[in-house]
């Protein structure tokens, strides 16, 4: 049971260590008989290669690390599922670095950057610190960004502007003229982009954008993509009284949950009194019948790995930015699925 090395196999099978290695790695030029004999001995001795000796000698690690913030966020989980599935098909190891605060980005990145430690990095959702960019570039470590973008690296992301545009347009087409937005903190790129999309949609429908109709809760964990922030923002809207918008685009489903709670507590019903469209399509959204913009999270994970592997095998490959378009999932929170209540645009939508 102790440790069996290729030397033991070589001795036992009466061959050289080179031959053993060749057999074990399915290399060329070994006669079928020798191959068979070596394999048999290896099995009999219950040989296990020593991973780190291999990695040292081969000068590659067969591992990929993922640097992820906000671990418990459903979005990451779902993407990670895709990552994990694809990665284990390919036989790589996945090592996970969870980031809880900004300092950890550097700590973990440095750790991943240790010479030879990983073959590639998946970097999620955070802004890349400038000094890190430089280090990464000369470390020549393949890296792909997921849910964030930088000109220097491959990226997989979602068309936030477009998605927000579609969500807002949906609300406008249902006949609403006053559409508010519950947003997350603007330090987050997705939040910024979704705001842009919202604004574009308004303007291309001939409605003036008004800052007063965009609110952000003060709860700032997960950059404001949390339930409490949604709750707080909606409370502010409710304080506006009768002038408050009757339709809202909310920058994430989880915030929408909070917003709906605030609404309900004030006696306002969704969708009868207020229409809501979210963003993400987390599992919760299905249960709550929330209309939302779906991001193809699982596929993003799969693609991220494929892109990373491609880059690893060809470092000179041109940098590729892939953007997925979110799709509108119409459920009940926007009123589109209910009887039309004299809104012509609904009818035409239902065809």
């Amino acid at each position: 049971m102790a440790k069996v090395t290729i030397y033991d196999i070589a001795r036992e099978a009466g061959v050289g260590i080179g031959t053993v290695s060749r057999v074990l790695n399915n290399h060329t030029s070994v006669t079928p008989e020798t191959r068979k004999r070596v394999k048999e001995v290896a099995r009999r001795l219950n040989y296990q290669p020593h991973t780190y000796a291999q990695r040292l000698a081969r000068r590659q690690s067969e591992t990929i690390s993922a640097i992820i913030p906000f671990f418990t966020n459903y979005f990451f989980i779902e993407v990670l599922q895709g990552v994990q599935d694809r990665i284990s098909q390919l036989g790589y190891d996945l090592v996970l670095y969870g980031v809880n605060n900004v300092d950890q980005v550097e700590t973990h990145l440095s750790r991943a950057l240790q010479r030879g430690k990983v073959d590639g990095i998946l970097f999620f959702s955070m802004k890349l610190p400038e000094k890190i960019v430089a280090r990464l570039r000369d470390a020549k470590l393949p890296m792909v960004l997921v849910d964030t973008v930088s000109p220097d690296f491959d990226s997989i992301s979602v068309a936030n502007v477009e998605g927000a545009y579609a969500a807002t347009t949906h609300l406008l087409e249902l006949g609403h003229r006053s559409v508010g937005m519950v947003n997350a903190q603007l330090v987050s790129t997705p939040a910024l982009e979704r705001l842009q999309g919202y604004r574009h949609a308004l303007e291309s429908h001939g409605i003036t954008y008004s800052e007063g109709l965009v609110k952000t809760g003060s709860s700032n964990k997960q950059d404001g993509f949390n339930r409490e922030a949604g709750y707080e923002a909606m409370e502010e809207f409710i304080e506006m009284g009768p002038d408050m918008p009757r339709a809202f685009f909310v920058s994430s489903d989880i915030q929408a949950m909070g917003a709906i709670a605030a609404l309900t507590e004030s006696g306002l019903r969704v969708p009868e009194d207020v229409a809501i469209v979210g963003f993400d399509d987390i599992e919760l959204a299905r249960h709550m019948r929330l209309t939302t913009m779906r991001q193809p999270m699982y596929q993003m994970g799969v693609l991220a790995i494929e892109r990373l592997v491609a880059r690893m095998s060809n470092p000179e490959m041109e940098i590729l930015h892939t953007t997925f378009s979110p799709t509108l999932i119409v459920r009940e929170s926007c009123g589109a699925l209910r009887s039309s209540e004299g809104m012509p645009s609904v009818k035409s939508k239902q065809r």
Copy 2:
């Protein structure tokens, strides 16, 4: 930028490689001056140790792997968060193996078992295959089980029997005499144990246990711990007509979501017409105002790592089984928080 080894440092600093290694590892007996000089050179050359060379020479990997099923289940995510936080404090690497089907258990376990690959394993929620137990024991690889139990290994789990007992008792104390149970598949140990707890509670309150009042949906993904299964099971109950129980213990929150949906679609209101208590306290439960049994998931993760590290440093340590007691979180789905409607037991509970 290329590779700097300890030989480069040794040459540059005019010392031997042994000394360099000693400095880098904070070993004893190096004069302060030498130490300082070596450190300086190392910094100047931007030295990075080669992880795998270290691991090979030290004969330990400083990595822990987690073997986890049903990745997208909220329970695991939350536990994993605890695991991840503690692990990165300790400076270990976390490598993740997601199991999607039974075969993968062996594949991944074998991979983790590769000689020297990991220092310890966290094994989640699944029954350990017998033949694996033997292999693990003579591989002498430290392993701790989370959310599952075996006499041969340390484990961290939740008192399912006790929890189910408390949940059911809560319902009984609210005055219900006929309490049904929506369960998951009995292949799952938690499901079995929760059934026991339910039964005990009934019997110690003088109520006869009846098989007809326990139903399991046919949807068997995640061993029946899924929304559809809860929906199906509740549909069956509803078919009973007026005889159906008006209170249910459901073996997981996610099933409770399905059950509530089935109820609502049949015009039955929760908690006015039917009382529900779940199990887990996933995030969704809070949003849905579901009364449930909370498992301390994050802490379980933290403890799992601590236990594992303890075992790694002392393999002879006695095997320890830690069981957390779930706590009852009373929200609105059981009717306990509403006006008492002439139920004396409620009053006494409210004190």
